[in-house]
């Protein structure tokens, strides 16, 4: 098992990139919910979107759609990152042998 392990610095680089992706996504997460839905809602309500005031729509509809999209973007980016650093998960051999062994694996 040990020889398939990427070197230590690869782990660090992977973690740094992961944190960077997270920061971007959390920024959008904050902007659409707390920003558009609460802090700037009055200003955005001046914009009409069909039968909606935009701020109200963001608070009750838009932010939820964005949350869903954000998670799927994160999934995609992380899968690419896993590939780039070859942290590909072998189809759960360790899961059949029980979680204890997995824990001892390192």
């Amino acid at each position: 098992m040990a020889d398939t392990d990427p070197p230590h610095n690869n782990r660090q680089a992977y973690w740094r990139e992961n944190l960077r992706i997270m920061t971007y996504i959390m920024a959008i997460w904050f902007f659409v919910s707390f920003g558009c839905g609460i802090l700037f809602v009055e200003q955005l309500n001046k914009i009409n979107l069909g039968g909606f005031q935009f701020g109200f729509w963001m608070a009750q509809q838009g932010s939820i759609y964005v949350f869903v999209i954000l998670i799927f973007i994160y999934v995609r980016m992380m899968n690419n990152l896993d590939k780039k650093y070859s942290f590909t998960e072998m189809e759960e051999l360790q899961s059949d042998s029980g979680p204890e062994e997995e824990a001892d694996g390192r």
């Binding site: 098992m1 398939t4 392990d5 990427p6 782990r11 992977y14 973690w15 992961n18 997270m22 996504i25 959390m26 997460w29 919910s33 707390f34 839905g37 609460i38 802090l39 809602v41 309500n45 979107l49 069909g50 039968g51 909606f52 005031q53 109200f56 729509w57 608070a59 009750q60 509809q61 932010s63 939820i64 759609y65 949350f67 869903v68 954000l70 998670i71 799927f72 994160y74 999934v75 992380m78 899968n79 896993d82 650093y85 942290f87 590909t88 998960e89 072998m90 189809e91 759960e92 360790q94 899961s95 029980g98 979680p99 997995e102 824990a103 694996g105 390192r106």
Partner: protein
Amino acid sequence: MDVKSWTYIIVGLSFASYIGIAIWCKAKSTKEFYVAGGGVSPIANGMATAADWMSAASFISMAGLIAFSGYGGSVFLMGWTGGYVLLALMLAPYLRKYGKFTVPEFIGERYYSKTARVVAVVCLIIISVTYVIGQMKGVGVAFSRFLETDYNTGLFVGMGIVFFYAVLGGMKGITYTQIVQYVVLIFAYTVPAIFISLELTGNPIPQLGLGGNVDGIPLLQKLDTVITDLGFSQYTTSTMGSKLNMFAYTLSLMIGTAGLPHVIIRFFTVPKVSDARLSAGWALVFIAILYTTAPAVAAMARLNLTQTIQPGAVGTPEGSLEYNKRPEWFKNWEKTGLLKYEDKNMDGHIQYYNDSNEAFAQSGWQGNEMTTVDKDIIVLANPEIAKLPGWVVALVVAGGLAAALSTAAGLLLAISSAISHDLLKGILKPEITEKEELNASRVAMVGAIALAGYFGLNPPDFAAGTVAIAFGLAASSIFPVLMMGIFSKRMNKQGAIAGMIAGLGVTLLYVFQHKGIMFIPNTSFLGTMKENWFLGITPNAFGAVGAIVNFAVAFAVSSNTEEPTQEAKDLVERIRTPGN
């Protein structure tokens, strides 16, 4: 066929399928019992998570809450969905990589401390028991209202069903049952919404119907006009407290959602780390279907309700509904006491307006005559208000029961695994075999059901208030300690324990100061304090402050005490990357 026969058929069929599944997938190992063998596909797990998460509160209460708070109700919509982004990014993949069974187990190992594990178990049990009481009560009420049995019988039937499939099947049985329950509940929620949206706006998609036109003007604009004419505050702009309070409330619900143990353990059931991320995405898709429909249901129900009672011009005698001509659903709900009318000016008509706003009283009006309009009846009464056929009404009953039962089962599993795996196997008797542990977890679950049933039969009248405690606890104790355990290698045992206790303590103190110690009125211990004393933040929204206190105390304490052990650091290193 009448509503009652339809209810028997639809509820009966759905229950038969839950029991069938329980027999089909009996758990044989502890791994199957706690995490369904770790082999559930991400989409299936997403659906099960959605059913697990959406309780009677989401299904029955939320739309009603929004209907009467308008824009302010957005805190529930954003808070209870935004938490999944936190889960997907900050907790689910790493806890899946950790690869064991329970949340306290992770806390105990990461902080190399049995004390931390016990504190986590205590938090978990308080959170889950609080929740389960509400669910059992929902089951009892739904049965007694629609099957016309008394409340206790309804409760016992519900307990029996949960007992059967949760105890037998464990997580494996629960997962597959929850998938069926999701289908039942989402169908039951959206079908009436589609009918009502079509009827009001001509658009079959409720999410679009909310922005559609009624009699040539936008629905929301019409709703604003109709209710402001009666003195209520404008639907689209009325807030819930100050902006800061809405901010804190939303944040509390988000962090609380991500810290709920029964939701977190669902991500232990998928095969891989990447599946845990994907599964959170699917869970939110399935949740979003209900959560984006709810605001449409809310606005349309409020409009329908108001226009039923005030069909004509405000101020004209015939503008208000004549009491003798009230519709059938009105009479039905009057029987339950959840809807009450009092003819204050003896004119035989119903005046429904905001009487704390004197300016809106018309000549001859002597106060608001709809003395009780319980928010919880909105979703259940909705199909009747819109005159939908009997099978739709029956479907809503089955949906409400599915929502309550699926959440109850998930919570009971979280409680039983904390007792058998963390307390018994982890601390008291580490030498027991897997078989004994499996039996112990079944016994623990029976105990948990009995406890929930007891509280269901003797509901403490603080049921609504305890929700604040559950979310406050999850937000101020479990979430921060998990997050720091993953993202900070420096966080040590002392910091984590001090953080949990401080966060929890501050939150409890604030809630009890406002609502009385253990919710007993007039036991506020700090003398009379102004309402929402801390920056105007309500007790329900205080979890966010508790979480901040937790983080601050934890960092302060850990930077002044020794570094964590090498094993703890290795554990953090290991869970941060997928694969071996």
